[in-house]
């Protein structure tokens, strides 16, 4: 079912048996297959330029995060003070094996290599923090929205404790307790600590969004209709409530993803988040602050990557949300 065909088929008239349009007859073999929400959504997504572009970009970023060697053969931590603050070499662009495409920082480290290697920390932190928030917040949101009553009251008050903490203060307290500024935690330990901090401080807002949309969804007629048919709570939640209540959380999730990559940069800047020798876009932007005038490119390149990455996740979220809502097709 292609989109133009849907458009012609959406003007049904009341008379009982609507004859199939010629277009519908053509694609009849396809229609015979029993399709569901997800396969329809996938079919729809493949035809959306917005989705295709953002998916390609995200694939590149994920590849970058997983196999940075594919993109740069230079070690991002090697310092060569002769090259300190050297300007970008535009002649070296699109030539594999060259160095200094994006210039060098004050320590003479290759910025291109560092941007590539920085993708891992930033994307891992952003994606896992958002996924964790969606799972934890979404779960508690569904529980309190669907069950209501005392469960709801208790969960809401419990979440308020975390919401009451200012984000930066809360993150400073947690991170400096478990990984003090003087200490030298391993890359894995500090990354997972940052992710956990974001989840601990973020889940109540996800839970609130989910709870609100579950509350409004569960009293719709089709939920009552399913109850009248004798559906068990599991079916009602997963087939009827969840698919119709998820959109707000998906949207907030994609927006928060960008915010978390930024927040990771903030914490690195303050010295409690990721720290060298880990490379991340946040750390690089933090390092660039003293060289804004003589070497603006030190900030420009990691910032550009950050913006593009965040934007592609937001676009992907938008496209997925639209595809999951048949009314918008």
């Amino acid at each position: 079912m292609s989109s133009p065909e849907v458009a012609t088929a959406t003007s049904p008239t009341e008379p009982t048996a609507v004859p199939a349009t010629p277009a519908a007859a053509e694609v009849a073999p396809r229609k015979e297959k029993n399709r569901g929400l997800w396969s329809d959504a996938w079919y729809e997504l493949r035809r959306k330029p917005l989705f295709v572009i953002s998916a390609i970009l995200i694939t590149i970023f994920v590849l970058m995060a997983a196999f940075p060697q594919l993109f740069s053969s230079v070690d991002p931590t090697v310092q060569d003070l002769h090259k300190s603050l050297e300007k970008p070499d535009f002649g070296a662009w699109f030539k594999f094996g060259e160095q200094g495409q994006f210039g060098y920082n004050v320590l003479g480290q290759d910025i291109y290599a560092r941007v590539i290697y920085g993708a891992r920390a930033s994307i891992v932190v952003g994606v896992f923090a958002v996924l964790g928030n969606m799972l934890l917040g979404g779960f508690f949101g569904i529980v309190s929205g669907y069950l209501g009553g005392w469960t709801d009251t208790l969960l809401a008050r419990f979440g308020d404790i975390f919401l009451g903490l200012p984000f930066v203060l809360g993150a400073l307290v947690i991170l400096s307790t478990f990984a003090s500024v003087q200490s030298d935690p391993s890359a894995f330990r500090i990354t997972s600590l940052v992710i956990l901090t974001f989840i601990v401080l973020g889940w109540p807002s996800f839970a609130r969004i989910m709870r609100a949309s579950v509350l409004s969804t569960k009293q719709l007629d089709y939920v009552h209709a399913a109850q009248a048919l004798g559906a068990r709570p599991g079916r009602i939640v997963f087939r009827h409530v969840l698919p119709n209540a998820m959109a707000p959380m998906v949207v907030v999730g994609t927006i928060t993803l960008g915010a978390y990559i930024g927040a990771e940069a903030t914490l690195s800047f303050l010295g409690v988040g990721l720290r060298p020798p880990v490379v991340s876009w946040g750390i690089m932007i933090g390092e660039s602050r003293n060289f804004m005038e003589p070497a603006p490119y030190i900030m420009a390149f990691p910032a550009a990557f950050l913006v593009v990455a965040v934007l592609s996740f937001v676009m992907l979220g938008d496209a997925v949300r639209d595809a999951l809502d048949p009314k918008l097709r």
Binding site: E14, A17, A225, A226, R239, P326
Partner: protein, 335 residues
């Protein structure tokens, strides 16, 4: 036509009015349904009419077991529905189905028509073998007059009347004996109301269904119902065959309701007396003592304030009517 399959006795539903943030105190009761009794025979249509807020939809929810009644009993084929175990209640749900009022909200927008109509089979897996379900769904689409090819479409691609047909197909899927129709046509255009009602009529004959047909439109109910019950403020005030109710109403409320039906013939209209009721429907949280209609009734006397009238046959009322001064008065035909 004579065997009773659903027997409702003294059904009561009070919704508590609660106040307070943490420790909620019950400060009153909304008496939505307050002692309704009715019998449904096999193959018949029982119409329930009444104005907004009289408890019609609550009655439907109680019959569907979507709300727990405060008191009273519902007996289906002689067994008390409310005392069954959860598993038996689920089985029972196969036999009593619901068609809802608003076709725009009663279908899940993220499910295809095939999934919506097929859902009853997924819940009651023994109703149809897995490979057979798709064919059954297409049969059902055909039965309700929709194109079976449209099985992969979504509800928003259909018009209101077609959506209501989808809702009817879903209710029919498990071959129920009783369908509770809660204002099934009031959200539709008049021309489409007729089509959907004729469809319901035809299905009743084909599948030997019993309907409880709730509506506020008197002419719709007259068209489809064999017997009619009139509700006012949570109570049944008059119950009879459609001719008894429409031609020889004995309760003042029914008479007032019928006199408000527009008459198409202009010459007849001049002779028609319209009974205009004074005031508003009292709050169901604090209904009048005795007869609930007495605050707006022109016949009201002292006894009406003290003794609630019973729904019974009296000397001047050949069918059950809950009025101390029940008397036949034809308001539709003569002035």
């Amino acid at each position: 036509m004579s065997d009773v399959i659903l027997e409702v006795r003294d059904l009561v539903k009070h919704f508590p009015i609660r106040k307070g943030v943490l420790f909620k105190k019950t400060v009153g009761q909304i008496k939505a349904v307050d002692g309704v009794s009715l019998d449904l025979h096999k193959g018949e249509t029982l119409g329930i009419v009444g104005e907004s807020g009289c408890g019609k939809s609550t009655l439907a929810k109680l019959l569907m077991n979507l709300e727990q009644p405060t008191a009273g009993s519902i007996r289906y084929q002689g067994r008390d529905v409310l005392k069954l175990s959860a598993a038996e209640q689920r089985k029972l749900r196969r036999n009593i189905q619901l068609v809802m009022q608003d076709p725009y909200t009663s279908l899940n927008p993220r499910m295809t028509v095939g999934d919506i109509i097929g859902e009853p089979f997924e819940i009651h897996t023994d109703a149809a073998p897995k490979g057979d379900r798709r064919r059954k769904v297409q049969e059902l689409l055909d039965v309700v007059g929709l194109n079976p090819e449209h099985i992969n479409r979504y509800p928003h691609q259909f018009s209101g009347g077609q959506r209501q047909r989808i809702g009817i197909a879903r209710a029919l899927a498990l071959r129920p004996e009783i369908i509770v129709c809660d204002e099934p046509v009031s959200a539709l255009d008049v021309s489409i109301q007729a089509q959907v009602m004729n469809l319901l009529d035809g299905l009743q004959r084909d599948f030997n269904l019993s309907y409880i047909f709730i509506a506020h439109d008197l002419s719709v109910v007259r068209h489809i119902a064999d017997r009619v019950g009139v509700m006012y403020l949570g109570k049944m005030v008059e119950l009879g065959t459609d001719d008894e109710i429409y031609d020889t109403p004995t309760h003042p409320y029914t008479q007032a309701l019928l006199s408000a039906v527009p008459v198409p013939d202009p010459t007849a209209r001049q002779h028609k007396t319209v009974i205009r009721l004074e005031g508003d429907v009292p709050s169901p949280a604090n209904p009048p003592s005795g007869c609930r209609f007495r605050t707006r009734c022109w016949k009201a006397q002292e006894i009406c304030a003290t003794t609630p009238p019973l729904l019974q046959i009296s000397a001047k009322s050949p069918h059950p009517s809950a009025c101390h001064f029940a008397e036949i008065r034809d308001v539709v035909h003569a002035g």
